[in-house]
Amino acid sequence: MKPVNFDYERPRTIDEACELLASNSNARILAGGQSLIPMLSMRLSRPSLLIDIAHIKDLSEIVATDTHIEIGAMVRQAVAKNAKMIQEYIPLLSKALHHVGHPPTRARGTIGGSIAHADPSAEIALVAVTLGAEITYRVGDDDHMFDATEFFIGPMLTVAPPDGCLVKVGFPKTSKICGTGFYEVAPRRSDYALASAAAQINFDSKGAAKTIRVGVGSIGDFPERLDVDHLLNTDLNDESIIATVKTAITEIETVDDLHASAEYRKRVAAHLAVKALQTARDEVREAPAK
């Protein structure tokens, strides 16, 4: 359990980090290291250069724009979990962060690192897909922005440019009235989830649902959104939620592994998605009478 030897650089600016990335085709960015270092130790990853971005000050900021909360690549999960701005404007992410690893890994792990790593069971990636976050990479002098719903293409596989450095992830702010739900099933606390689901309903000032977003994770090669737009035409009663989720989840490809069958994962994910939607609805209003 010892990594192969590699060189190590500690750039102070994003430009310097990008120059280092361009200089070595086998370089990797090191942020919190909570996914990368185990891969190094198991020698699944054998970079010749690690670029530690922890000393780039700009990357540790959380910034509010008119429409988004932009989380810098080095913002640690524990910091994000306690950030007032995130609790207020991205409550779904706050809920999900309770399920991410455990306190010692959250103290080091970052929001951006989890997204760049693209583990199929990652809660942060699921929230990014569910809310349609904007993921920004710097390549040389240019910023490239990716929509999270098109960013993940396989297990640990994304469309990120190989010579790019993730600089920030922008999550859309919720509307004033909004409900959220996040659930997962894992063999034990802090372990990889077997199935997970996230939901957010934005309401207008009259209490009508404006947008409904639901995503499921851990069941396929990457997190995916369910198409539940049909629910906008209903009063969000339990029957419509269950029927809509049941139909939508048939579109999702699920995978088997040692821990659970594809069928089991799909069934659990559908249940969790229903529960997440109900919680999101009930946070704002009482369940309508049947």
């Binding site: 270092i37 690690l50 690893g101 306190p103 010692p104 080091r108 034990r188």
Partner: protein, 175 residues
Amino acid sequence: MIQVSIEVNGKTVTAEVEPRLTLLDFIRDVAGLKGTHAGCEHGVCGACTVLVEGNAIRSCLVLAVQADEQEVISIEGVGGDLGRSGELSIVQDAFCEAHGLQCGYCTPGMVLVAEALLADTPNPTEGDIREAISGNICRCTGYVQIVEAVMLAADRLANRNYKSKPGQPSDQTLG
């Protein structure tokens, strides 16, 4: 090789290291402190937990070069006066009294996550404690007594008549 300087239990340890050296191996082999246990070495078991800048973290998932210029407290440093007084910390003492250990391999990690929890959350619920130790595996499965030990420590910390943080002198009287 890169020169790093890490303050371990109040003493600065400076050495030339390979970038691949983990903080765990730095503490054990360079600083020579064997109380931090090497378990799985890939972030699953929690046996190697130490405090870095006050946060409980797994030392096998941090490179020594990442901890450069930072403060580390290992199990040897949690007792009074950074472990130099020869006295156990309240948490360590509670683990002895509540029989919160059997083989003892997970114990340094358990004690350090408990120290970090109690520094931030003076009156934890059982749920808080279980959450705090959720990343640490006890293969003797002695979790019930470990939780009892942390609750006992919380109770004693709440009722003591002085204040201190892990490793700090315990002679500061509460006003």
